[in-house]
Amino acid sequence: MSGCYINGIANISAQSTSDFDQFLDEIIAYKEVIFKSIDPDYKKYIKPAAMRRMSKSVKMGVTTSKMALASSGIEMPDAIITGTGMGCKQDSEKFLEKILYNDEQFLTPTLFIQSTHNTVGGQIALGLGCKSYNVTYVQGAASFETSLIDAQLMLSEAPKKNILVGGIDEIAKNSTLLHTLDGHIKQEDINVLELLESKTSGTVCSEGATFAVLGAEKQDHSLCRMMDVETRNIASPQDIKEDILALIEKQGLTLNDIDAVILGNNGDVSFDHYFENLQNSIFSNIEQLCYKHVIGEYHTASAFSYWLACKIFKVNNVPSILRVNNIEAKEYKNILLYNQYRAKNHSIALLQRC
């Protein structure tokens, strides 16, 4: 089986991450539980005529896809695979509001066209003129990882391909409000940097986009090798522990070979025990990093951890804001990622410096 390398990656988040030369140099401490991503200058990447119809997720997705392609040196990908938990919520809400307020009359096409889950993938393809394979996966918090698995399978059959893979989710007024009402979002505002010490249920809500270019062959500019990625819809903490050990063993490695773990703790006391079970056992002697107290939670937030790992491999350093224990690796060769949201859609990945 051929390899799977990340040859370029880009991210937009609630911190200044769109510039790959920066590495969380200045951290914004949000004081509310719902916070938006930081907009780069979208006009550098999208023509005004095209941008006027784009919602936030489309702008974020198109921009990060172009950044990732540029950093990989690829102009035209052989496939576009996107993952999103909720799709283009903003335009979906506007379309539904128009149906309601106009008594199901006078519906315009733009909002309908822009309200589907695969809008981002479609807009990227339209912008590039890419007529190749284009698929969007909607699998909750494992949407990005499901896209990675599809890309990995494609590369195993067609090693010459370069595949654009991404994850995007956006905040939208009404659906975010619903998640506040159902308790998925915390009821009280907090200092988000202290999210992981929270003793209440629910988490914070943010938005972002990550795109990566994958290829089967190592390039001079390859950021890392994706050794394996697995998803599991429902599992117990013990199942996850066993899955992680099995995944490491499958790669001919042991826990001692893992230099750091990047975990998706989101400050929800009802579900963070999945992470703590690992942090207090098999990960107790490994450097532990978390990121959702910095960029927030959304269905494809875990894609940020891939960006993070690529960045760590590149600079061999970790911003202290991400550390949650006192162990520091001397160098980073193998980084393990684990994420879940509300005990569902678990994902485990192993990335290796190349």
């Binding site: 005004p48 005529a49 006027r52 119809r53 106009n102 009359q105 006078f106 519906l107 315009t108 096409p109 733009t110 066209i113």
Partner: protein, 85 residues
């Protein structure tokens, strides 16, 4: 008529999200499509809905829009003659 033209320009900018365009930049005789304002086929559908919703004009044949949407001036003339609200 001048008032209707200004109103139309404002509605088009808002409805079609022409964020970087000012009312003063749209000439009464400028072409709305092609080399003029650069609108496209999706915008044409938006304009058809705008005519019906705001002026009570229902185009029976969408092809009529090609002539009606030639410019702000032509569009305003058509609305003035055919509006029901």
């Amino acid at each position: 008529m001048a008032e209707l033209r200004e109103e139309l320009k404002e509605k088009i900018i808002e409805q079609l999200s022409l964020e970087d365009v000012e009312v003063s930049e749209i000439g009464d005789d400028d072409s709305l499509f092609g080399d003029g304002l650069g609108l496209d086929s999706i915008d044409a559908l938006e304009l058809i809905v705008l005519l019906e919703k705001d002026y009570g004009i229902k185009l029976k044949d969408p092809k009529e829009g090609k002539a009606i949407f030639e410019s702000i001036g032509v569009m305003a003339d058509y609305i003035a003659k055919n509006r029901t609200k």
